[in-house]
Amino acid sequence: MPVKKGRFGYWRDPVFLVCLTAYVINRELIKPNLHHYSAFFDGHLNDTLFVPVALPVYLLAYRLIGLRPDDEPPRFWEMALHVAVWSLFFKWFGPFTLRRGVADPVDIGCFLAGGIVAWLLWQRGACFHALPSNKA
C-alpha cells in the first residue's frame, strides 16, 4: 500500500506564514524605529526570509499554470534553481541594469541559507506526514 505523501499548503504553509509575519514585523515595526543602520535588520534578515516567503507563491503560480504536477513540498532543485535565478536577477541584473538594489555577495549567501533551512523544514513536514501513524 503506497504511503500518502505530505501535501504542501503553499500560502497556508506554516514556514511561509511565520517568515511572512517576521518580514512584515521587520518592515513595519523594527526598521522604522532603528536609530542607526543595521546590516542585519536593513538587509540580511529580509534576504534570509525571501526564499521561504517567495518560493511557495511562485510554486503556487506554477501549479495553477499546470507546470507543477503535484502538491509535494518544494524539492531541493526547485529551491536551488530559484536561488540561482533570484541571485542573478536581484544581485546582478537589478543593480547593474535597472539601477535598483544592491550587489552584495553576502546577500546570495543569505538567500541560500534561508532556502536550505526552509527546505529542511519543508522536508521535515513531509517526513512527518509519511509516518505510518499518519496514513489516511
Binding site: 529580509n46 511562485y58 507546470l67 535565478v85 536577477f89 535598483r100
Partner: protein, 40 residues
C-alpha cells in the same frame, strides 16, 4: 505515414502545451521579480 499523422500531431501538441506553460511560468517569474525589486 498518414496513419501516424494523428500521433505526430498529438506529440507536437503536447510539446506545444508544455512550451506554453514554461513561457507562462517565465513571464510570471519576470513580472513577480520586478514587483519584488521595486516594491520590497
Amino acid at each position: 505515414m498518414l496513419q501516424d499523422l494523428p500521433n505526430l500531431t498529438g506529440a507536437a501538441g503536447t510539446w506545444f502545451v508544455l512550451a506554453g506553460k514554461i513561457v507562462a511560468a517565465m513571464g510570471f517569474m519576470a513580472a513577480a521579480n520586478l514587483v519584488v525589486l521595486y516594491a520590497c
